[in-house]
Assembly symmetry: C2
Homo-oligomer: 194 residues x 2
């Protein structure tokens, strides 16, 4: 039994280490190629060549470029997000919107979002937005827990998330702070008047 465990463990460590390195190299290559605006170069052979691994390794692990990009986006967009918690809805939404605007202003992130949506379709798009939507739900729920009546998630998505993604992905207009702040103001003005 001890031998089995040991050999299992060593087997697990070696491929694990190599596997993690391959993953990092392939993710890095996909990010680089997307950032170079070379969406046409986002093929498994090209990505594998850039990563210095055999195409078969990439095919076996991810299957398609769409799956690979969804995986890259998932690790890019998950985990590093902190939900603002100032105790005030307006301030939380301001921080949230400014953080998302900063993220979407980064050319590498934007290139990744465009490529993931373009090649990964609806599934890819879901990966790019779901964590951001979860954050928004958490902010609104906290405000409700404080006894307030915040706007609903649909209205908040339409008023803040949608214009930020639309402007970033579809236009070359800057996501300037005054405009970003104005989105929050407009949403909360509606709220007060209704």
């Amino acid at each position: 039994m001890a031998t089995t465990v040991a050999s299992r463990s060593s087997r697990a460590v070696r491929p694990g280490g190599r596997s993690a390195r391959v993953r990092a190299a392939v993710h890095g290559a996909a990010l680089e190629l997307a950032a170079e605006g070379a969406a046409e170069a986002l093929t498994i052979p090209t990505i594998a060549q850039r990563a210095g691994v055999h195409p078969t390794t990439v095919y076996r692990r991810w299957g398609t470029v769409a799956e690979l990009l969804a995986d890259v986006s998932a690790s890019r967009f998950a985990g590093d997000l902190v939900v603002p918690d100032t105790g005030d809805l307006r301030a939380d939404l301001d921080r949230y919107a400014a953080g998302l605007a900063k993220d979407l202003t980064d050319p590498d992130t934007l290139a990744l979002v465009r490529a993931t949506v373009g090649i990964g379709g609806e599934q890819g798009a879901a990966v790019c937005r779901s964590e951001r939507e979860n954050q928004l739900v958490a902010i609104l729920e906290r405000d409700r827990a404080r006894g307030n009546e915040p706007p609903g998630i649909e209205e908040t998505t339409d008023a803040i998330l949608a214009p930020l993604y639309y402007r970033a992905v579809f236009t070359n207009f800057p996501l300037d702070p005054a405009w970003v702040h104005g989105l929050v103001e407009r949403l909360l003005a509606d709220q007060t008047s209704s």
Copy 2:
């Protein structure tokens, strides 16, 4: 001279006819492949094969898949748009929003928008939205000409265009008529209260 004109004319007719046929076949092939969700198959050799033309023809005419998709999107999104003109801003915006929602609900259009943005980047995205923005500008200008004070183009884009594109491109939520109408209502409610 007569001979020259005649031969020019016959030369112009033949390549013109062939050229139009090639364009239609290549556009059709790109649309089909995008609609099949096969963004990875959107390469010039694959498109050329589907269209039954030589890859060199496609390379020579469009250069890149990005350019080709921008051309396909331009002919898809231009020309067939009528600016609603009911004499009333609310009714015009309702018709506009319902028309855009219908367009973005079509799976082929949506696949084309995603592929054009994903592969064509900012330039591709501009092609997918510019005609729609022009329509909106025309609607607002007409209302101003009637002596009213309509919302600005930025606010209208944020309130109507952005949520429609965001929901269509990034989510799988339906663009249902009540929601679409609500976008217009919210924009104009802001307007009245400000």
